[in-house]
Amino acid sequence: MLVALTQLLFCQLVGEVIARAFDLAIPGPVIGMSLLLVVLLYRQSIPENLESTAEGILSHLSLLFVPAGVGVVAHLSVLGNEWQAIIGSLIGSTAITVLVTGWVLQRLHRGVSDDS
């Protein structure tokens, strides 16, 4: 687990360095993810300890958004007197996006494992 965690942190570190050095709009962790993905696709198999560590972290991914969520409440004043329009837009647009994206993919793509 310690090795796997180090590998994840190392990828993030390299990603942050690239993002800052080239002043990219893409965040460091996303670049780190892309780098790790390339390495994993190049290898024959995914190391088992990396897989189990990732599974452990990702199964509690929701928890990691809690501090940012509290921050939102603390900064609700930025919504100002337009909060009805903002909330309306967020709810409507999110529902439409889920619907359209899911529908298009289901129409075009029979699942890789759903029906097999």
Partner: protein, 244 residues
Amino acid sequence: MTPDFGQVWVYLSASPLTALTITLVAYLVGDWLYQKSGRMPILNPVLIAVVLITVGITMTGIDYWTYFEGAQFVHFLLGPATVALAIPVARLLKTMRKGFGAIAVSLFVGSATAAISAVFIAEILHASEKTVLSLAPKSVTTPIAMGIAERIGGLPSLTAVCVIMTGIIGAMIGPYVLNAARITSWDARGFAMGVAAHGIGTARAIQINKNAGAFASLAIGLNGLATATLIPILFTLWQWWTTP
């Protein structure tokens, strides 16, 4: 000797230990309620935890920055967790032989729908132009969204708030929308949650089904790139359209 509770409180209110414990306890309560309800999406654990913590720190007079100084240890893990999304995506891509075209089309359509529908609804509801522009990138992860907002003239701080709210809203209503539309494929459900509601939607998908989780993970990575490219183009077209 009587214990000096004042002294104890001074220590506790400033220590990261308190903020960390509060965060975990609130989340466990939220998750417990969610599981108890038979995983009703409307009882989102993140939302419950956020409400509990906000009430808690308001009642005890701890300010947000003191809280965040402790809770940042949890927040920090978002970085390595994002990197870890490469693992489900790699597992998926290693087994996938077809469907790349379908994914590209859905990504493009979803990314455009997210931005255009947000702007359109906000316009109908008479939001100011700055607000409308801040809403456009709401479906991608916070740092990318803030970067886009800044570039097109929105308010990055407003965008950051909208992004998190979008994630929670998506996790809460997304499954109902998908059920109502009879979208049963786990691939499509996961992908839709990842495109519309980034990490928080993905977190939910991961807990429910392995395939949905992998497709959601793929979707947030791809949607970050797609939206960062698409919105500036749409914005230029929109400006060209509206300026006489």
